[in-house]
Symmetry: C2
Subunit: 159 residues, 2 copies
Amino acid sequence: MQNSSMVKDEHEFDLERFLPYLLNQAAEATSHGFHAVYRDRYGMTRTQWRVMANLGKFGAMTARDICAISHIEKTKVSRAVFALESAKMLTRITSDQDRRVEILSLTEIGRGVFTNLGQLALSYDAGLRQRLGPKKSAQIDALLKILTSFPKVTSNDKE
Amino acid sequence: MQNSSMVKDEHEFDLERFLPYLLNQAAEATSHGFHAVYRDRYGMTRTQWRVMANLGKFGAMTARDICAISHIEKTKVSRAVFALESAKMLTRITSDQDRRVEILSLTEIGRGVFTNLGQLALSYDAGLRQRLGPKKSAQIDALLKILTSFPKVTSNDKE
DNA sequence: TAAGATTGAGTACTCAATCTTG
DNA sequence: CAAGATTGAGTACTCAATCTTA
């Protein structure tokens, strides 16, 4: 043993210091409670909630737009759209200009659900940020923005 | 329209300001690259990698210990242990004191894989933190620690 | 051929139920 | 019955292949 203190050798790997792991743990810890809300109240998945949130914020748009904005996989969006449509929360209209494209928008029911969940999300978020305080709340936003905008860190980027 | 500026009404829900979403986006952005490493090199899942990392750090321990330390679901741990065992990276020994318990430990192969992945993870993490700089790197650690330790934020906590 | 979107196969996750030992 | 761990059913995700229209 080289170290007499309790401090872990910094050249040995420690999951507890691995940034992707720490981010995942924080994400899961903070997501869990609200996930239960949209799941239990409306039977929605996280992807469905995100698709709805985008349509609620931006209004009518295509599946491709949602993919581009929120970086959700197109197959996840496709299935979420189908589920929201089946639940009468969303409608699609084939574009006249380009019949490959479908314009998605929330129905009245969908907008009602979004208004409800949006309010709950707002207070859920406020609860989290209240515990952090305004300074740390702003700090985390800035730091996460930096981390999210990192170009992919891999040896072989295939895209 | 009450607002003449481009600033979004703070009483309307906006996914881009929702902390759980921002944490998830950052987690996914930073995890993606390293996930490809253990998947492509060793066919491992994230849970398998985490179980291995705990055994690599702490040495022999039970599945329940791993659950307690890393907050991974027991069924995920169970299946990851099975997979690592099948891949000859892990062995289990039924405890003499309590035959319900199995002591898990990495095999020589498993330790070799952990050493390799641990080094790669270390440099991957260093790459992320280098972009942040030392100050923000320390900040994010502190903030994530706070967020992860929040007691569950839900109306009805059933546990 | 390319772009928007969907489908299918294989994999991983979730939650309740079960098995075994204490 | 309680605790450690596994199993099964249903759900969601990933990646490649496909379908339709441009």
